[in-house]
């Protein structure tokens, strides 16, 4: 049937089935920025378009309905070279980060301002009520509207965008438009899905319906008859290589406990087979025709079930060690069960015992905790339980791989391009020189894209079929077959004296890693190593055990164990203050660490190796707490006019790290091009966080070049050099420092070559804007253009290319205080976050506007797990909330009424230009701050997240 319509002012006709989805029709027209993020559920708003001036979800409208209509799509607003005022304001406000939904948001804001030239906060909230933003929060959307209106009316911005830092520097510490912002907000080719070729084959994975089962046989004969099927992969035709999917440094502190396909499935959603076909429909149909004979086994879903005597074992195969094998290994392996169990291979001992479902364990102590407990005025002891939650990046996991010239080229949405290359190399058997990983723009990572969850299989499929292969997870697969935050039980015992001194702390952590051991040791370690060092306390002990279960897999998630440890330890501290009759703020101020304090507790808390006793470096903790207490009016009781609503306040101190000292490694290559501009190749992975902009600012600052003379190429394993990747808050600190080292080295080369060309001494030369070398002695100048041109014109010394490598033993720790004021309805149990103030020390915030938005975004994620988000499983291990609507991630209407992010000015000794990390830490504070505020409001301690109305009413004895 013929459909005539106008798309972005152009007449278009389509001869199509009118029941086709509007989005599919728009894709035919090339409007690829109309995306699907929620299995066409109408939640995320990535598919927003305007039909005759009304916003609709293009996945929920039929093509036939738009016959004769005028349609506007996000890519019709303005191109990256000619941005509209709204698009530019969004970039300048700092909200164009991972940006999968930024084009749709730009369309909505444009629509709003066209229809309402003076919108209120409520109007903006209403306009954005159907769009889900996970990266940057919603606060700076209000700012973007304000900036756009100011520029429309007066030609320029009047409102401040973000505070500026370091007046002596030109671009560092100042709001400067993010360099990849234009491409992203305009909806141009940026993400993996935009690079698939017309001959692409689609891969669909058949997943286990059982939480635990052996596979007796797989019959794919009917499936192979489906027209268009290229190959079907199962455990029977793929390599026996054992590996793991965690994107960690090699050797990894995670067991190699899986293969591409296993003959034992260990969770609902585990891989059983993969169909590669010429169309998505054929792949799905073939999947449905594969017959699998399962031998269903009993399963365990909680750490309590996993640790019970005689519990079913998640792994019961042969154990191997690459290093440090115990003497009784041969004896231990006599217990191994069915050969279909496969193996568990440790790179080094993790203190595991698969016959007790223990994936890893660790413990340590300083001082004498038991003695401290026995001799203190008060002791509290409580258990805090956290639920399983999912990152829900707007862009679900996706990979596109193809063979080119005998090499495997992998387009990946990843935080770890070099780990992807290594692991794809393991499963294909290809050496690293035969694999090219290209990190595209990443539509949200938050730790879930630290793991190699689909690149292994997609890379292998492209390699064995020789066909281009695209694999794109559904939203449901994100929940059941990706990675999640480890559910954890944190038991805290804490003692103190009436003088306000905390005397002893014991943390016992039981974590649920699910069926495979990705990050199984280090996430729970972080629960202790990023919380205990907040305290000046001589007696501390931790004991952690991590259990295998048959839940959906767990892995890295922003905060990496710390949100859970912080929830337990700060709630316990508030409970101790209550018991001692001391104001919680006074207890915090008396016991928090400060610069120079030696952290004995870290000696046992390394990342799978020995830790080191280090002093606290730059530390804005005290100022953050003071600032937050002043802002929220600590100590002043707020009373609601409605007697059902009780108001309370709470806060938590927080910390994280800036990469992994002694483990992380970053490299960069800075090149002076022939016209005097610079291309910097950074191994670092910008996942929307502004890391490329940081690298560009570093070059601009050191070489005194304008930003538009600098291009950053990053995360491309062919053209860049090794970097461990964007995780553990390492981006700014490690990759940024590598860019700094490379640029400093380039500057040295420039000065040396200039000295030769100018006939001057190097000591007399320096660089200045807008990119030239000058002599402090003779005042002669030489532009980078002339310098570079001469250097490559037949007689020079060649192109100036400098390499920078960065490693360190230094630990630069960001600190902060997160403050909440909540209202609790004691009749209904409803909880409202009235105020949330996030006060953080990020060292020098290199991109202050982006930093603030990352704080807002991280707080929104953590308000999500504190109050709403929960992956609920039934008794057979099926996730009942594997879609966005049922899962409950917060939207703009759940944002705190009064929400502020504040950067404390601290200069760090080791970070590039004094910078520390910013984003990950901001996930740590909400749960304890809200939990403590709930107690202040209505007198109950909610010791499990999410803190729901039902739990409030139960705690109040009302149900």
């Amino acid at each position: 049937m013929r459909i005539d319509c106008i798309i972005n002012s152009k007449h278009r006709s389509f001869d199509i089935d009118p029941t086709m989805k509007l989005r599919d029709m728009l894709l035919l027209n090339g409007n690829f920025a109309v995306r699907d993020s929620d299995d066409s559920e109408g939640f995320c708003g990535s598919d927003t378009v305007l039909v005759d001036g009304t916003p609709v979800f293009a996945n929920l409208v039929l093509a036939g309905e738009v016959n004769g209509c005028e349609i506007r799509t996000p890519d019709g607003l303005g191109s990256s070279q000619h941005l509209t005022v709204v698009q530019q304001a969004m970039i300048d406000a700092g909200i164009v980060q991972s940006a999968y939904n930024a084009p749709a948001a730009a369309l909505l804001l444009t629509w709003l301002l066209e229809n309402n030239p003076n919108p209120s906060k409520e109007d903006i909230k209403d306009a954005l009520s159907g769009i889900f933003i996970r990266d940057a929060g919603y606060e700076h959307y209000y700012l973007a509207v304000k900036l756009a209106l100011e520029r429309m009316h007066n030609g320029s911005y009047e409102s401040p965008i973000a505070p500026s830092f370091r007046p002596n520097l030109d671009v560092i510490g100042k709001p400067v438009s993010k360099i990849d912002g234009p491409q992203l907000v305009a909806g141009e080719r940026a993400f993996v899905e935009d690079f698939a070729t017309p001959d692409t084959c689609y891969m669909v994975v058949l997943r286990s319906p059982h939480a635990s089962a052996y596979i007796n046989s797989i019959d794919d004969s009917e499936a192979r008859k489906v027209e268009g099927v290229v190959e079907i992969l199962t455990a029977y035709n793929t390599p026996d290589t054992h590996y793991m999917q965690a994107g960690q440094g090699n050797p990894e502190p995670s067991p190699h406990d899986r293969r591409l396909f296993n003959l034992k499935v260990r969770h609902v959603g585990d891989r059983v087979a993969a169909v590669i076909a010429e169309t998505l429909e054929a792949a799905k149909e073939a999947c449905s025709l594969i017959k699998v004979d399962y031998e269903v086994l009993p399963a365990v879903f909680t750490v309590e079930e996993a640790m019970a005597p005689g519990a079913p074992l998640v792994h019961n195969g042969v154990v191997e060690y690459r290093a440090g094998a115990p003497a009784d290994l041969e004896e231990y392996n006599k217990l191994a069960g069915d050969p279909r169990e496969g193996k568990v291979v440790y790179q080094f001992p993790l203190k595991a015992d698969i016959h007790k479902n223990i994936a890893a364990s660790n413990k340590g102590e300083i001082g004498n905790v038991d003695e401290a407990f026995a001799n203190s005025d008060a002791v509290v002891e409580a258990t805090y339980q956290t639920s399983q939650i999912q990152h829900t990046p707007l862009e679900t996991h996706i990979c596109f791989a193809q063979m080119q010239g005998g090499r495997l080229v992998v387009h990946a949405s990843t935080q770890v391009p070099y780990h992807v290359r290594r692991i794809v190399g393991w499963v294909t058997g290809l050496p690293e020189n035969k694999i090219h990983v290209i990190k595209t723009r990443v539509g949200g990572g938050y730790g879930s894209k630290q793991d190699i969850l689909i690149e292994d299989l997609t890379g292998y499929a492209a390699y064995v079929t020789g066909r281009p292969v695209l694999c794109h997870n559904t939203r449901e697969e994100e929940f059941i077959a990706n990675s999640t935050r480890h559910p954890m039980r944190v038991h805290v015992k804490m003692s103190g004296n009436k003088d306000g001194k905390i005397t002893g702390i014991f943390m016992e952590v039981c974590a649920n890693t699910g069926p495979y051991g990705n990050h199984c040791l280090t996430v729970p370690m972080n629960s202790c190593s990023k919380t205990l060092p907040l305290f000046k306390c001589d007696n501390m002990r931790y004991d952690l055990k991590v259990y295998y279960t048959n839940t959906p897999p767990a892995g890295a998630y922003q905060g990496y164990g710390t949100p859970k440890g912080t929830y337990g330890i700060m709630m316990a501290m508030a409970e101790l203050a209550d018991k001692l009759g001391i104001d919680y703020k006074d207890l915090v101020l008396k016991n928090h660490v400060e610069e120079g304090y030696m952290l004995e507790i870290l000696k046992g808390l390394g990342e799978g190796r020995e830790g080191a006793v280090v002093p606290v470096g730059s530390c804005g903790l005290h100022e953050a707490i003071k600032t937050g207490c002043d802002m929220i009016g600590w100590g002043k009781k707020e009373i609601s006019e409605d007697p059902d609503w009780k108001i309370g306040k709470g806060f938590a101190m927080i910390m994280q790290g800036s990469g992994l000292p002694g483990l992380d490694h970053a490299e960069a290559i800075a090149k002076l091009e022939t016209d005097g501009t610079v291309i910097l190749n950074s191994g670092g992975a910008d996942i929307g966080t502004g890391l490329d902009t940081i690298s560009a600012k570093i070059v601009a600052e050191v070489l005194k070049l304008p930003m538009d003379k600098i291009t950053v190429i990053s995360g491309d394993t062919d053209s860049c050099a090794f970097d461990t990747g964007a995780y553990a808050s390492s981006g700014t600190f490690f990759s940024g420092n590598a860019s700094l080292v490379a640029t400093n080295n380039l500057k040295d080369m420039i000065l040396k070559e200039a000295a030769f060309q100018m006939g001057e001494n190097v000591e007399d030369l320096d660089v200045r804007a807008p990119g030239e070398v000058y002599s402090k002695k003779t005042e002669k100048a030489l532009s980078y253009y002339e310098l570079s041109h001469t250097a490559i014109s037949g007689e020079g010394h060649g192109q100036m290319i400098a390499h920078g490598s960065y490693v360190t033993k230094a630990s630069s720790v960001p600190y902060g205080g997160h403050f909440a004021q909540v209202a609790v309805n004691i009749r209904t149990g409803e909880i409202k976050v009235q105020k949330f103030y996030a006060i953080q020390d990020a060292g020098t915030p290199i991109n202050p506007e982006i930093a603030l938005c990352q704080m807002y975004g991280a707080v929104m994620k953590s308000i999500g797990h504190s109050l709403y988000e929960d992956m609920k499983l039934d008794e057979k291990g099926n996730c009942l909330t594997a879609n966005m609507t049922d899962y409950g991630a917060p939207m703009i209407s759940e944002a705190p009424e009064d929400f502020k992010a504040v950067l404390v000015d601290v200069n760090d000794a080791y970070g590039p230009f004094g910078a520390k990390s910013i984003s990950e830490i901001a996930c740590n504070g909400a749960a304890p701050a809200i939990g403590i505020a709930i107690h202040d409001a209505c007198g109950v301690w909610l010791r499990s997240w999410p803190m729901t109305p039902e739990k409030i009413l139960k705690a109040l004895g009302k149900i």
Binding site: M1, D17, P18, T19, L62, G64, E65, N67
Partner: protein, 160 residues
């Protein structure tokens, strides 16, 4: 915008000329007289408009009629004339499953679909089977009991 649409309805071929984007529910009720199919929520949530499309249970309020061209549609009018359908209808009546009755055609479709695919369902499977059908009168228990009754009475009927 009209198109010729033909499909099998309760075993008989029907042909109509209509806007292919009209809801199947409306076409069934207004053009084809199948008023047993009810409209509850209009958004695929309540199950009152359930029908069988190529043997699969779907909600007809969110399906454009153009999508069933050449397909096989069974409504409550057809299902209640089958041997199994008769057993379910009688079991619902005997078991006290019917109060206001508005949801019942959809419930019968759900029960028919369930028992056709699973002749001996557990109570949990029955509850899962009607989890897409909202009933505000009965509290579901008697519906579940009636489906158990239909399973028992049907015996071999469901195994064909």
């Amino acid at each position: 915008m009209e198109a010729n649409i033909s499909f099998r309805l309760n075993g008989e071929m029907v042909s109509i000329s209509t806007d292919p984007l009209r809801r199947l529910l409306d076409v069934l009720r207004e053009d084809l007289g199948c008023i047993g199919t009810k409209e509850g929520c209009s958004e695929g949530e309540c199950g009152a408009c359930s029908i069988l499309l190529n043997g699969h249970m779907v909600t007809s309020c969110i399906i454009p009629v153009g999508a069933v061209d050449g397909q096989d549609v069974m409504t409550i009018e057809g299902v209640s004339k089958t041997e199994g359908g008769k057993i379910i209808v009688q079991a619902f009546a005997d078991g006290g499953a019917v109060q206001c009755g508005f949801c019942i055609p959809g419930m019968v479709i759900a029960a028919y679909y369930l028992l056709s695919n699973n002749p001996n369902p557990t109570e949990e499977e029955i509850r899962l089977g009607i989890s897409g059908n909202i009933c505000r009168c009965t509290g579901y228990d008697l519906v579940v009991e009636s489906i158990k009754l239909a399973a028992q009475r049907g015996g071999d009927v469901w195994k064909r």
